[in-house]
Amino acid sequence: MIECKIKIELNDFTLDAKFTIPDKGISVVFGPSGSGKTTLLRAIAGLEKSDSGYLKIGDSVWQEGNNFVPTHKRQIGYVFQDAALFSHLDVKGNLTYVTKRTEGLSGDFIDSIYNLLDIKPLLNRSTVQLSGGEKQRVAIARALLTNPKILLLDEPMSALDLKRKNEILPYLDSLHNQLDIPILYVTHSQDETSRLADHLMLIEGGKIIGNGPVNEMLTRLDMPMSHSADAISIIDAKVISRESDFDLMHLQFSGGQFIVPDNGLPINSNVRIRVAARDVSLTKNKQTDTSILNIFPALVEQVVPEGKAQVIVRLKINEFILLACLTKKSAAMLQLESGLSVYVQVKSVAILS
């Protein structure tokens, strides 16, 4: 577990963060700019000092009251927004800066980090010869070489264009799959959040306003993300079979089976899909003469107005929660209310992995 209770007062801003998150997987810290995301990350790294507080990562306590462990003695990997490689050293120099200072690193460990981020072709370059994405790869490798208890990533893709983002995303996926340490990932991008987050922590005005598993946070109607124009649900599923005649694959999730275009993922691999609330429609009876493939029986849990003409409907497919965004008129025609049985039609699905 990661336990944090930090209060930091800056000139015109107060961060007051109390939370507990799991110490594995990616926890995304999501919030608008100026909400205190970076300050929170800096506080965990010890770069901002709070006079009192409590911070525990796994079994290491980094702050207890005014007993404050300085940054260089915290085993952290910190990746700054703009990579921040040392300009007076080349790529190799940036990496050996860490290996010289970290005790007990085995050659195998260093090798595994280099392989994970595909560093070897870059080793003999100077930092000015790297693209934005390559810089971030070196910065992530450099952070991991500290053999950290936690990896902190501060909007690592915000300085990259779309092409570079797509270049670095697979590396972030492999961090996700192969590292045992918790990752705290700061971003204000919904795309990055939906692709990477296991756990989601929402921050606003220096306060943590919500914290929980990603789909729960996205679909809880008392949380802001369910009320944005692009509200979504995230589904973690598994490839179970393919339909080669139509180039489709079948995905199993806790609510049933999704049929999506085949993207070549092997059978049994985990896959994450995203359903936009706007792409979900409801019918009272199961439609048979329809072009839509993904139809599930569901239970209406809650209906709340959204803006002037729309409603957000929270639906339960078995144990799985899905959001739908409909017009008020449709809701009235269907006489939607909690407890009603309906059929959910999902018009389109985005495959994220």
Binding site: A45, G46, L47, P70, T71, H72, K73, I76, G77, Y78, F80, A84, F86, S87, H88, Y97, V98, R101, T102, T127, V128, R142, A143, T146
Partner: protein, 229 residues
């Protein structure tokens, strides 16, 4: 051609400049670092004190140094009470005078380049496990490289060129405190324009070459760092 006295003046001058510059770098580095990092309110007072030699007439500075370091001055007396002797009119006196006189020429470029590094590289080094002292030597100093070159060359050249302070505190004793700039003055006084030309021309060309070196190096350096953005 150069007389024996001229040659000894050149040697004394170079020795003085080398020793003063080394001392200046050693004391100027921590001072400049502190000035670049501190947020204390009276920082400007320190900056003003260090900058004083830039605007004071050298004779004023030389006069006060003489009063302090001389036989009857506080530091002169202190030295004598420990069995030493006053350092006025000695080579050591010249070194003390030069260090004070050239201090701003070393501290200011260092302070500027330390300030231009910004907080981030030091924070990065801290997250990578480097202690305060470690990151000062392995990050701050290498990144301030251009500032060190500028500081050393300016400190050196300025010490070579000083006149008023060394005359007051050194007294132009041949072979001991007689430096190049005073030798030129002496030649002119004695109407030996040929020798004056030789020394003055030599100094002019050397100073010019040193500045060319500084600008070339800094340009190269800023190109290396600039293209990264």
């Amino acid at each position: 051609m150069l007389s024996e006295l001229d040659i000894s003046a050149i040697i004394i001058t170079i020795k003085l400049a080398l020793i003063s510059t080394s001392i200046l770098i050693v004391i100027g580095t921590p001072l400049a670092w502190w000035l670049s990092q501190t947020r204390v309110k009276f920082k400007v007072v320190f900056e003003a004190i260090i900058a004083l030699p830039l605007i004071l007439p050298p004779t004023v500075l030389g006069f006060y140094l003489l009063m302090t370091l001389g036989k009857n001055g506080p530091i002169g007396r202190l030295l004598e009470s420990f069995g030493g002797s006053s350092i006025a009119f000695t080579f050591s006196g010249l070194v003390v005078g030069s260090v004070i006189y050239s201090l701003p020429f070393v501290v200011q470029p260092l302070q500027n380049s330390f300030a231009s590094i910004g907080k981030q590289p030091m924070e990065v080094a801290a997250t990578l496990g480097a202690s305060k002292l470690d990151r000062f030597f392995t990050v701050a100093i290498p990144l301030a490289r251009s500032g060190f070159i500028t500081a050393a060359v300016l400190g050196f050249a300025h010490t070579v060129g000083e006149f008023g302070v060394v005359l007051m505190i050194g007294g132009n004793i041949p072979g001991e405190t007689g430096v190049l700039s005073i030798a030129i003055y002496d030649h002119v006084e004695a109407m030996e324009y040929g020798q004056a030309h030789l020394l003055a021309g030599g100094l002019l060309i050397t100073s010019f070459l040193m500045l060319i070196f500084v600008y070339l190096f800094n340009r190269h350096f800023s190109i290396m760092r600039g293209s990264e953005k």
